[in-house]
């Protein structure tokens, strides 16, 4: 399905996870049949767990709640809901063995949102799981060891009256896909799907509530199974246990005559009542209980009546539920959004109720009391930046001081300090910000520096007759240097032999012909060899590291550079002889 557009959302009945949370065993088997003989290969078992939130829920899993957390408002026409960022979460666990839906049918969620008034319940933190759920439920949950969780404790009868039936749970839980660009409910990394769990209880005006997201996994002992259809069969008194306030010994089953067991008695809340009345009541209670022999409705009715007169008390056993998430809100304040909006006093800025006796001119100015700089109290006109009609923009600016913006109204002679105060408030706000002051300085300094550069450049241009500089931001010094060098070197002819090599080579002692003639050599080639022309001046020069006195053979052998030079000389001499010899042989 296409993603929803902005402002749209798509609702799904449920999104079933591929595997419910739990422990799984995977068995791999391969059936092989060899010529009609089955020879199965040995299989193997793997175990794995699918884990998910069970007894606690990370706050980050909760994407949004309504009514708002700690909110105050008229929520008395809203059904509270919680949005969960994990779309499959409500269906990741089975509600109970009796409530498993076949594929294709709506599964039963294991989460319920229970709305309780503040004084109806108590939030308990860090409880052992065994203290929260009854033993039978603990066993059905698989007896997980060492689990501690939060819990909500409330009157069992109340919970039975409020908790939705399993079929209702199905209807109260759905998946919502919203446009992720939409602001609401969409965290940045969300895929746009949210599982939403609704409550079935409407807050009443004036109440303060705790909304509790509870796990009802295996809590079929608390969930009602029949829809109360209006016929009164028990109602609030159905199953209520009664007891007389007295010593703890009197809570024993025999004394009460009802099915209160010792642990249940412990769970009962005892409400103190005058001891004398209690003792007097004991006998009165015992007799009817015995007489009606277990018809609890009658017992309850009877005792409820007697409670008023005799101080007998209906005891309400408490029940606890695993609490995954909770938040509080107060349902107070009047009016819905619609009512508030339609009752608004609409007007332009400057419209005032005549009864308020505030004098506003038609331009929107009001008089305010000020003390002028001489210390005299006086009245001035003031108008804020929010005006009732479009104004033209003051073109006289910029102003450099507040006094420039002070005006006197001709008709009244009073001063109009609107713009002067605007100036001052701007100045004060800016002065309070150290960083702004620094940046202002930087802004100005940059301008001053650029200005002085420009001045220098113009002066330079005029003085030096520079032509190339057009942009004052260019590096002037570089341009200037290049320009100056150009001018200096202009007209100077480059020297022919800048390093004097030609002149040196031209000296008579380096002319092979002259040498050959002077020393009576056979050929010019001999003279070239003698002059060592071949590597010539182009050869790399080996410099001896330092002049040392080579006194011993070791010194000589250690002088590598010298030895290398000698080797070179020898090689050159051998080469010369070889050239000669080859010439002769030829």
């Amino acid at each position: 399905m296409a993603d929803p557009q902005i402002g749209e959302m798509v609702l799904y009945d449920y999104i079933r996870p591929s595997l419910l949370a739990g422990q799984y065993r995977m068995r791999v088997q391969t059936d092989v049949t060899v010529t009609t003989t089955a020879t199965p290969l040995p299989g193997e078992d793997f175990h794995f767990d699918v884990e998910g939130p069970r007894f606690s829920l990370a706050p980050s899993e909760v994407a949004g709640v309504f009514p708002p957390r700690n909110g105050h408002g008229p929520f008395d026409s809203a059904l509270p809901h919680v949005a969960l960022g994990r779309r499959t979460l409500p269906w990741e666990r089975a509600l109970g063995d009796a409530y498993t839906a076949p594929p294709g049918q709506t599964p039963y969620p294991f989460l319920a949102l229970v709305l309780l008034e503040q004084d109806e319940c108590e939030i308990l933190h860090d409880q052992a799981l065994t203290d929260v759920v009854p033993g039978a439920v603990f066993t059905r949950l698989g007896s997980p060891a060492g689990i501690r969780c939060d819990a909500v404790e409330a009157d069992e009868q109340l919970l039975r009256g409020i908790l939705p039936m399993p079929e209702e749970l199905q209807l109260l839980t759905h998946v919502r896909q919203v446009n992720v660009n939409d602001r609401e409910l969409a965290a940045g990394d969300s895929d746009g799907y949210f599982a939403v769990v609704m409550s079935n209880r409407v807050p009443r005006a004036g109440g303060s509530y705790v909304a509790c997201l509870v796990s009802v996994e295996e809590r079929t002992d608390l969930l009602p199974t029949t829809d109360p259809d209006g016929a009164f069969h028990g109602g609030v008194l159905d199953g209520v246990l009664v007891a007389q306030i007295a010593e703890s010994s009197e809570l024993a089953p025999s004394a009460l005559g009802t099915s209160v067991t010792a642990p249940q008695a412990d769970a009962m809340r005892l409400v103190a009542s005058p001891a004398t009345a209690a003792h007097a009541a004991t006998a009165a209670v015992s007799a009817p209980v015995a007489a009606t022999s277990g018809t609890q409705l009658q017992v309850g009715k009877l005792l409820d009546r007697q409670r008023l007169g005799l101080g007998a008390v209906v005891l309400h056993p408490k029940a606890r539920l695993v609490l995954l998430h909770s938040w509080t809100f107060v349902c107070e304040g009047d009016g819905t959004f619609r009512q508030l909006m339609q009752a608004l006093d609409v007007g332009m800025m400057g419209d005032v109720d005549p009864a308020s006796k505030l004098a506003v001119t038609d331009t929107g100015h009001i008089t305010i009391d000020v003390t002028d700089r001489l210390g005299a109290p006086e009245q001035s006109w003031y108008r804020g930046p929010l005006v009732s009609e479009p104004l033209t923009r003051d073109a006289l600016g910029p102003y450099h001081s507040a006094d420039q913006a002070r005006r006197v109204v001709a008709e009244t002679g009073a001063e109009n300090i609107s713009y002067a105060s605007a100036f001052e408030v701007g100045r004060l706000l800016a002065a309070a910000d150290a960083r702004l002051a620094q940046e202002l300085m930087r802004w100005r300094r940059g301008a001053f520096r650029a200005s002085s550069r420009q001045g220098s450049v113009v002066t330079l241009k005029d003085a030096m007759h520079l032509t190339a500089i057009t942009d004052p931001r260019e590096p002037v010094a570089l341009r200037y240097t290049v320009d100056v060098l150009d001018k200096i070197t202009a007209g100077i002819v480059a020297p022919v032999d800048p390093f004097g090599i030609e002149r040196v080579l031209g000296s008579p002692l380096l002319q092979p012909e002259v040498i050959a003639q002077a020393f009576g050599l056979e050929s010019v080639a001999d003279a070239r060899v003698l002059l060592g022309e071949e590597p010539g001046l182009a050869a790399p020069v080996t410099v001896r590291a330092q002049d040392r006195v080579l006194g011993t053979v070791d010194d000589v052998l250690g002088d590598e550079v010298g030895l290398a030079a000698l080797a070179d000389v020898r090689a050159a001499a051998i080469d010369a002889v070889r050239i000669q010899g080859e010439g002769e042989l030829r």
Binding site: Q5, G161, E184, N200, M349, G384, L436
Partner: protein, 336 residues
């Protein structure tokens, strides 16, 4: 508290990618980013104490909304005042005198980046977007809303349109979006006071109940509860102008606990409603779509030629008449 306009990362990036690595080569006209952002915020009155905006609380009584034009001269003075910090001599004054016009033009553009900045957009990106918008500074309008609705319905949607649009309409429709005025600022000044600034002059302003309200709602009807019948798109099924109420059954003895299944059956009994196939359909039925409040229809007679009951003497026209002109020049001794 303002978010700094530039961060160490940005500053480092600017430093490293600067071609000359040398401050003097920086063009002189560039405003330091923080300063530009600060002044743009001031232009939209961010940080200006509330007493300056509403000098007397009788101007904004409880449960009221006041529309206004923004006085540009006033905000210009605020900026003048801010720049006056450290303006100690004629040199600084001359500097500002020379640059005020350019600065003002620049701020006309950069005031459009205030809202993106407030919403956490990177300064560089926000500035790029605001610089790309070359439309000259126009009228800025807005409203102040003082109501408990502001506190109780946080994040309500505020939109302004330059023409009146009849309900129902889709806010995402491109046709409609084209008429929407840009929002320059939308902020709470106090828990129950909201200010909004629009770029342009709206003909219609909408305040919409926040969408996370996409709540499940019931209506109090007499002593009991009811939900209006809805079709598959969440729209109310109407007979004439009236919605079709479906009474919400509650558990006996507990008038605040809804019999969900019975309600579903009651909803399914009416073929005009959404077919009750599961929890999704049920959710649609009990959804309470956001309320959308229109503010529109107040006729503005400015520049419409509607005759007023006051008589104006058109001085400029009169002066142009030859006879009067001669008279005036004679009186003023200009005739020569």
């Amino acid at each position: 508290m303002r978010v700094p306009a530039t961060t160490a990362r940005l500053a480092l990036h600017a430093r490293l990618t600067h071609p000359a690595q040398e401050a003097p080569l920086q063009p002189e006209g560039a405003l330091p980013p923080y300063m530009e952002s600060f002044l743009a915020h001031l232009r939209l009155l961010v940080g200006v104490p509330f007493e300056y905006l509403v000098p007397d609380d009788r101007l904004l009584p409880p449960e009221s909304i006041r529309f206004f034009y923004l006085d540009r001269s006033w905000t210009d003075r605020v900026v003048d005042g801010a720049v006056a910090v450290g303006q100690i001599g004629s040199r600084e004054e001359a500097h500002y005198q020379a640059r005020a016009a350019v600065l003002s033009q620049r701020l006309d553009q950069s005031e459009r980046m205030v809202r993106p900045l407030q919403r956490g957009t990177d300064f560089v990106d926000a500035k790029k977007a605001s610089d790309a918008d070359r439309t000259p500074a126009g009228v800025v309008t807005g409203f102040l809303l003082r109501s408990s609705a502001v506190r109780n319905w946080p994040h309500m949607d505020v939109r302004a349109y330059d023409r009146t649009i009849g309900e129902p309409f889709k806010t995402a429709d491109p046709e409609i979006v084209a008429h929407q005025l840009p929002l320059l600022r939308l902020e709470l000044l106090a828990p129950s006071v909201m200010i909004a600034l629009f770029q342009g002059e709206p003909q219609m302003v909408l305040l919409e109940e926040p969408h996370h309200g996409v709540q499940f709602g019931v209506r109090h009807r007499g002593a009991g509860l009811a939900v209006p019948l809805r079709n598959g798109k969440g729209e109310q099924v109407k007979v004439g102008d009236d919605a079709v109420p479906v009474t919400v059954p509650t558990r006996p003895g507990r008038t605040d606990v809804v019999r969900v299944k019975a309600l579903r059956d009651a909803l399914a009994a009416d073929p005009r409603g959404v077919p009750q196939t599961g929890s999704g359909a049920f959710a649609i039925s009990v959804l309470d779509p956001p309320w959308r409040q229109h503010f529109q229809g107040t006729e503005d007679h400015a520049d419409t030629g509607v005759p007023l009951d006051r008589v104006f003497i058109h001085v400029a026209d009169a002066v142009q008449q030859p006879l009067v002109l001669t008279g005036v020049t004679t009186v003023l001794g200009l005739g020569g």
